[in-house]
């Protein structure tokens, strides 16, 4: 599993590609362009930065309405965010990113992938592996799959979401449906029933954070490793993945 991780992490993540192609924090700069930007570190800048450092570990998006009370007004916040983003990048290598299609929500991402699994705590490693498996399966099913079918696939791998697993641990349903969703790695959508007797179905998709942090190519390469197959067996999938990655960047 360690070699699999290193191979998948060695490829360039969408996050670090995006920072070159999309100019990193342009979204923050353009929104603040009408405000006079604060360029010196004051107590308000420190408050915002410390709040972000405290909350970045949980990976739950930070909302503007939670940041505003730290400094007073929206303009106090927006005029300082570019400087905060610059300091986070320069000192911590953390990119502060506003989520696309989300109203004023920010996430933190690392500037580069991890070099080894040791950068994660022992609790985090199985969680990331499970996430990769889920994202891989959603991708293989053309980016949208019913939750029941996802759980059936996991069961084929010996992972039952309502039972404790020797490696992945317990409370897996909560991890997938609550934690990964809150962290924006996975998105859940309810379908509208077409007929009177149809049940509502719940679908699982890639979340906004997953789209920012992972490249489809990375997930396909991970799949090849975990299934112990050469990447050439997945050449068609890799082409699809590369095409999707190019479109989105």
């Amino acid at each position: 599993m360690a070699n699999t991780f290193r191979a998948s992490q060695a490829s360039t993540s969408r996050a670090s590609q995006a920072s070159t192609s999309r100019g990193g924090n342009n979204s923050l700069l353009s929104q603040s362009s009408q405000l006079v930007q604060v360029t010196a570190v004051d107590d308000k800048v420190r408050s915002i930065l410390k709040y972000i450092l405290d909350h970045s570990a949980a990976k739950i998006p930070m909302k503007e309405k939670d940041l505003v009370p730290l400094v007073g007004t929206k303009s106090d916040l927006q005029s300082r965010l570019p400087l905060v983003a610059k300091l986070l990048a320069k000192r911590y290598g953390i990119r502060l990113h506003q989520l696309k299609d989300a109203t004023k929500m920010y996430i933190c991402m690392a500037e580069a992938p991890m070099a080894s699994i040791h950068e994660m705590t022992p609790d985090q490693r199985p969680q990331l592996t499970l996430l990769y498996i889920i994202l891989m399966y959603i991708f293989l099913r053309q980016m949208r799959i019913e939750d029941t079918k996802l759980y059936a696939m996991l069961e084929l791998l010996g992972i039952r979401v309502d039972e404790e697993h020797a490696y992945f641990g317990s409370h897996l349903r909560k991890l997938i449906e609550d934690t990964f969703v809150k962290q924006q790695y996975v998105k859940r959508e309810r379908s509208q029933p077409e007929g009177a007797f149809e049940e509502t179905k719940t679908y699982m998709l890639w979340g906004l954070r997953a789209k920012e942090e992972f490249a489809y190519e990375q997930i396909v390469e991970f799949s090849a490793k975990i299934l112990n197959k050469p990447p050439s067996d997945f050449s068609e999938l890799l082409e699809v993945a590369k095409e999707l990655d190019n479109q989105e960047s």
Partner: protein, 241 residues
Amino acid sequence: MELVKRAFLRASKNHSALSYELIDQILTPLCELHKVDKPSNMEALKAFVSEIDASIRGFDQTLVFVKHALKNEEYLVYAKTDATPDTIANTGLVAEECQYFAKLLDKIAGEENCCMAWNGAYRDLGIEKPLKKVRMQELIQKWCQMGYFLEAEDNIYLGPRTLVELSFYLRTNHAENIDSCKLCSNLVLWDIRCESCDIQYHRDCIRKFLQKRSNCPSCNELWKTPLRASIEGRRSFTSQP
């Protein structure tokens, strides 16, 4: 090298308390990936960490080494310099869980050797809405992993991150049990005492002091306590069940 420093800082913040073994496990592949030389000895590593520390001090964050006298081990700790027990664990925890942290900290710090039998952590600590035992176990495990507490020999002790982050709080609120080493001004616990006046010092601090003098810096009596750590001496620091 700046990429390596930033990545190492992120990993240190993630782990919160790191042993030398973990530091090496993180740094080796990181330096290989970015094709830079790994800090080759202890001095180089400490200088590397010191540079990172200097870059984050302005935001009330710190990355420092701290000796934990219980097992005579040194840890690298990522800590906040303006933390209090109420603010420490409050990200992602409900009010009762924050309260549990503060009560547990006070209970352990209030014991004679800053040590509590593990089952004491599950007794009623006076929290308004007591937590379930399973949740208490999860939290203690998490806080031990973060370095706030340390489990050893069926007891729970204050951990390396607590010694760094809550130094002022502990000295102020638990002065009867917790004091600073007179030679370096950092917290001193479970370490060596003068046989005459019972004042406690860090082993390394008093060893260095006694290279030039022979008397206790506090009572001026001849220093008689052996400086070598002994198993018997360490056992005296565990609490009675």
